[in-house]
């Protein structure tokens, strides 16, 4: 989508604030003026593990304003557990901003943002930019349970209309957020981030509604910067995002594996060949 310029760098940042929003959900604000200045919606950083533990962790830049960039993450394994132990004043080095973010400058006036779980971290900057451009923004936000619906208020404060769902019905409607999306008024465009099964459904809905959708994919990364081909997704051979690669024929059409970290993480739904 929005193409990379070469402002990415290694930033030595300091933790300004740390909040545990729910059990195992951490919000870290970093003193990172250059990163904050350079980041566009949908971009991410690779957070270097303070104790050198195999691989950096891909995390969306949640907020970027003034000297402050923030990260919002779930503790799911060793690396996020280590990041969760950071305290105010601790140092955290991050590489970024990375990837091609959302292309928010389109002309849609009534847009839907769809976020599943931690996907919420990737869409705040996008929502703010769309709202600033005058669009009407509905946030479709689903989580397993009420307390994991973190930060919904911040989107409401920013001016989004909220549609919430939880798997267990403990807040909002019970069910998947994509069910709510299907029942709702047709938007002119969709921006989405969340688990792959959710994104597949969003893609299907967008196709059926014949509206454009931009999907921010998340898979386990190796390098996070295009060096290892550990994070691919099949694209249509003709896609403008396809890397230089001879297309393979699959199911009768041309397919190329693109790197989520380098050619993405945001892809146009109708160019994905999952």
């Amino acid at each position: 989508m929005a193409t990379t310029d070469h402002t990415a760098a290694v930033h030595e940042t300091t933790v300004l604030e740390r909040h545990e929003l729910a059990a195992g959900v951490i919000h870290l604000s970093l003193d990172a003026p250059q990163l904050a200045g350079a980041t566009r919606p949908g971009q991410y950083v690779m957070a270097i593990p303070p104790s050198a533990q195999t691989a950096a962790t891909a995390l969306a830049v949640y907020e970027a304003e003034g000297k402050r960039a923030s990260l919002l993450f779930f503790v799911t394994g060793k690396r996020t557990r280590e990041l969760a132990e950071l305290r105010c004043g601790d140092r955290l080095d991050v590489v970024g901003p990375l990837g091609n973010g959302f292309q928010c400058m389109n002309n849609a006036r009534d847009v839907a943002i769809v976020a599943g779980g931690v996907g919420i971290a990737s869409v705040l900057l996008c929502a703010r930019e769309l709202l600033r451009d005058g669009a009407r923004v509905r946030l479709f936000y689903g989580a397993r349970t009420a307390e994991l619906l973190v930060e919904a208020q911040r989107f409401a404060d920013a001016g989004c209309e909220l549609v919430l769902t939880t798997d267990d019905g403990s807040a909002g409607e019970r069910g998947f957020i994509t069910d709510a999306l299907e029942r709702a008024r047709k938007p002119e465009a969709i921006y989405a981030c969340g688990p792959t099964p959710m994104l597949r459904t969003v893609a299907r809905i967008a196709t059926e509604l014949r509206i454009p959708a931009q999907l921010a994919l998340e898979e386990t990364f190796g390098c996070g910067i295009g060096g290892c081909w550990g994070c691919v997704v099949p694209l249509a051979g003709h896609s403008s995002q396809a890397p230089s690669f001879p297309p393979a024929v699959r199911g009768g059409s041309d397919v190329v594996y693109a790197r989520i970290c380098r050619e993405g993480p945001v892809f146009l739904a109708d160019e994905l060949r999952w």
Partner: protein, 320 residues
């Protein structure tokens, strides 16, 4: 103490390197991806991603799983095939401020011969590494590197196609790595890369299936370092050609273990995923270490820990 700055230059066959650090094949892309975060002038060489005769889409996702102090990968040799590579990729790499080593993988002796000859003919390529040890392409890929006789045939075939430095990358997944090393040397290898990844797997305990689409993958990172150091130590006793040591190098201490075990150069792979500043930091700290220890050059420490010093006291026989 020497007062001159210690020399880090090294030679692997005819390949002259300003620094004894290579970036591992498949871990450093084309160099361009890392250039915003790392100074490529402070790197000895980049070993490019392995290329095969025909294009390969590689394995489906997931291709990567993080494990304790390591990671599993099963990329499956995704690459555009040698023709596309020579025409559309390689030209982009000229002008890199470090040497480029081409890496060749194959599924037949003839594949290795053909791709080596085509690739080595190019001026962008300073040397060739033969990947006879990729664990991620079903059985075929690694068969060569697990069999001394097959390894010898691959090396002879590749040797016939080029005079450039030929590095043979060995698999640790064998009963006797020295047997393979000796055959590779006898068949004309100029150097050995020791080791490629160790075979492993991880299971998703909620979904009840392997976490990699390919089921098994190659384990890299600090977890395998002790395995790699021993392989270098033993291979260094078995052959006379230089060794490029690798497997889990993250710090200068790790790097020193490999040099002291007998490696003439080292390769850094997974650590670049932890922090792209690692290669530059290791080079700076190697220089400081050599200065502190009064060594004029990196050569001065190669193999210096490679002597048995144990005198075990046993009741039975002479087992250590």
């Amino acid at each position: 103490m020497v007062n001159v700055r210690p020399s880090l230059t090294t030679r692997i066959g005819q390949l002259e390197l300003a620094y004894p650090t290579l970036m591992g094949s498949g871990c450093y892309g084309t160099g361009e991806e890392f250039a915003p975060f790392a100074d490529l002038r402070k790197i000895g060489a980049i070993v490019l991603k392995s290329v095969t005769r025909l294009p390969r889409l590689g394995n489906p996702m997931p291709r990567i799983v993080h494990t304790s102090a390591g990671m599993l990968n099963a990329i499956g040799l995704q690459n555009p095939g040698i023709e596309w590579y020579l025409e559309r990729e390689l030209p982009k790499y000229s002008g890199r401020p470090c040497k480029l080593v081409g890496s060749v993988a194959g599924f037949s002796i003839d594949d290795y011969a053909y791709v080596t000859q085509r690739l080595a003919a190019r001026s962008e390529i300073a040397a060739i590494e033969l990947n006879v040890s990729c664990p991620n392409v079903a059985s075929e890929g690694e068969t060569f590197g697990c069999d001394p006789g097959l390894t010898a045939r691959v090396v002879r075939a590749a040797r016939a196609g080029t005079d450039k430095t030929l590095i043979v990358k060995l698999s640790p997944n064998v009963t006797d790595i020295c047997a393979v090393a000796r055959e590779a040397e006898a068949a004309g290898a100029d150097a050995l890369a020791v080791i490629n990844t160790v075979r492993g797997m991880a299971i998703d305990v909620e979904a009840w299936h392997p976490r990699l689409a390919n089921v098994s993958g190659g384990l890299s990172g600090p977890a395998i370092r002790p395995v790699a150091v021993l392989a270098v130590y033993e291979v260094a006793q078995a052959v006379k050609i230089p060794i490029v040591g690798q497997g889990g190098i993250e710090t200068v201490t790790d790097a020193l273990e490999f040099f002291l075990a007998g490696a003439s150069a080292i390769s850094i792979g997974t650590a670049n995923f932890t922090d792209p500043r690692v290669p530059e930091r290791i080079v700076a700290e190697l220089e400081a270490y050599l200065a502190r220890r009064g060594c004029a050059s990196i050569d001065a420490i190669v193999g210096k820990a490679n002597v048995g010093f144990a005198t075990p006291h046993q009741y039975e026989g002479d087992e250590g």
